[in-house]
Symmetry: C2
């Protein structure tokens, strides 16, 4: 048996990728691994087989490790459906609603449910709830009073947390809008964005400022992106950063006014977080980025559910 203190295998299992963490007390990451086996891409739809193949090297020496999973793996298209928990929801509500599925060889995987909002606004999340729990575990002071978290990505989540529970949230399709407009619309002509091209921050901030100033919303500005290029007022190679600025600027224009006084906390991929920090600066609002809290969230929910022999690390 390995004697590294490993107690939990945590899975972050999304639409297009599967990431696994080997965790010790307090959510400390001993090792991690990943495969392009998301729920839409897992070979043969064999979730149990994919799981076993990915973590076999870990399990061989640590048969007693519990396993917990977050993300789209709990959707109707995933391994087993973990019905959404309704807001407000925190670590206690989520850990009380785990859904179990057998991976064979005597291993049980505990799937964390997503969270839904049902009021005048309709919304759902899967995976982000675990990031929120992890962020609160690592920054316990944010679990007192009201805090807003911003999770940039394909479907950006703005999450209002009150006293440690997700009180309400709104999804912005900003990342996906950028992807479909830059690849499939007239704005993609003559060619879509080049991967890893340097960012033209001047054009990005110009887009943010345009979105902020537009009394009619962002809709009349999208085609203007093309017109500005045709008129020689925007260099063609800068148009995608201008568009990115327009879309993120419109999101901030929509989302910022309803938030608490405390500066929103950014959780996400660093390059994307940098765009949000710069855009928010145009609005005169500070955003503070924090490191990826998914492992801490997986650990905290497992600990709250009693799956590991360690104290929960947050208040």
């Amino acid at each position: 048996m390995a004697d590294d203190g490993a107690q939990l295998i945590g899975l972050d299992w999304g639409t297009t990728s599967l990431r696994a963490y080997l965790l010790a007390a307090g959510g400390r990451v001993l090792a991690q691994t990943a495969a392009p086996w998301g729920i839409m891409t897992v070979p043969g739809g064999d979730f149990a087989g994919a799981y076993r193949a990915l973590v076999a090297p870990w399990r061989a020496q640590r048969a007693a490790c519990a396993t917990i999973a977050a993300g789209m793996i709990g959707s109707t298209e995933g391994w087993a459906q973990a019905p959404y928990r309704r807001c407000p929801a925190g670590a206690a509500e989520l850990s009380a609603a785990l859904v179990t599925v057998s991976a064979g060889d005597g291993v049980t995987v505990h799937i964390i449910p997503g969270v839904e909002r049902i009021d005048h606004h309709a919304d759902v999340m899967r995976g982000e709830e675990t990031q929120i729990v992890g962020a609160l575990a690592r920054r316990p002071e944010l679990a007192r009073g009201a805090t807003t978290f911003v999770l940039p990505g394909t479907h950006v989540k703005w999450v209002d947390v009150v006293d440690g529970r997700i009180e309400r949230f709104v999804t912005y399709m900003t990342g996906e809008l950028y992807a479909v407009l830059s690849r499939h619309s007239i704005l993609s002509r003559p060619a879509p964005p080049v991967p890893d091209a340097p960012t033209h921050w001047d054009a990005f901030e110009q887009g943010v400022a345009c979105a902020r100033a537009s009394s009619g919303g962002v809709a009349p500005m999208l085609f203007a992106t093309r017109a500005l290029v045709l008129q020689g007022r925007l260099p063609a190679e800068k148009r995608f950063d201008f568009l990115s600025g327009l879309l993120i600027g419109d999101e901030l224009r929509s989302a910022l006014p309803t938030r608490a006084d405390r500066a929103p906390i950014l959780v996400g991929e660093p390059a994307l977080c940098e765009r949000y920090v710069r855009a928010a600066t145009v609005f005169g609002v500070p955003l503070v980025a924090m490191e990826q809290p998914t492992p801490a969230g997986l650990w905290t929910i497992a600990a709250t559910a009693g799956l590991v022999n360690a104290p929960v690390t947050h208040g």
Copy 2:
């Protein structure tokens, strides 16, 4: 020689199609024909050949007919570039800026320029300027004072006309946003829209009302389309009409407040115009649709330029 009074061949030459009209005095349509030979799809990029092939039956007996063309054929990717005329522009400005190109066999084609707006807003149009001139020719009373025209389509134009000239305009990418979101985003799952499916007007009007009521703009409502389906609050088969209502509703929310008191005039394809009429009803605003005025516009600009031996039909 044919003795049917034909004086003009008018071409409506866009990105994906070419339509030709044989016109007599006043813009009366004697015959029309079309081919899928837009500037992006014309065989071998041979504009002259496509033109001659399409109108050969007409020209054989009417060698003296002048030819005029509107649309993307005058763009940098078209037959010959007809540089944009700047706002304000009407029949006089457009007819003074025709660009000519030889179709061979002694035939000259006169290309109508597009119109651009260069101020705090950047915008361009090609083809719609001819529709506006035609609409004013057919309804001369609209050429006195201020009138707003709405031209629905992939790129919707809201055009403010003052005393018969295009004073300013704004393009909304509403049609293209619907296309890319319903075909290429998560909203397309599990399947994109079925062509010619019946319209669910209740869901459409619900979408319009949501967009009208949203203080944060339409951005937070797009993903809600999916969440409403997941939560059983919107039948899956109605989601595309809800989305259509959201996008058209957001356009009206943005565009209506800045317009003149006179009811906006709709010019476009009847099924699409019906959506705009119904959406505007949710806003308590009447929209009046009129028939396709392109032939009248082609005639009026040709007549103003002296290409035909007939009086201009409008004041």
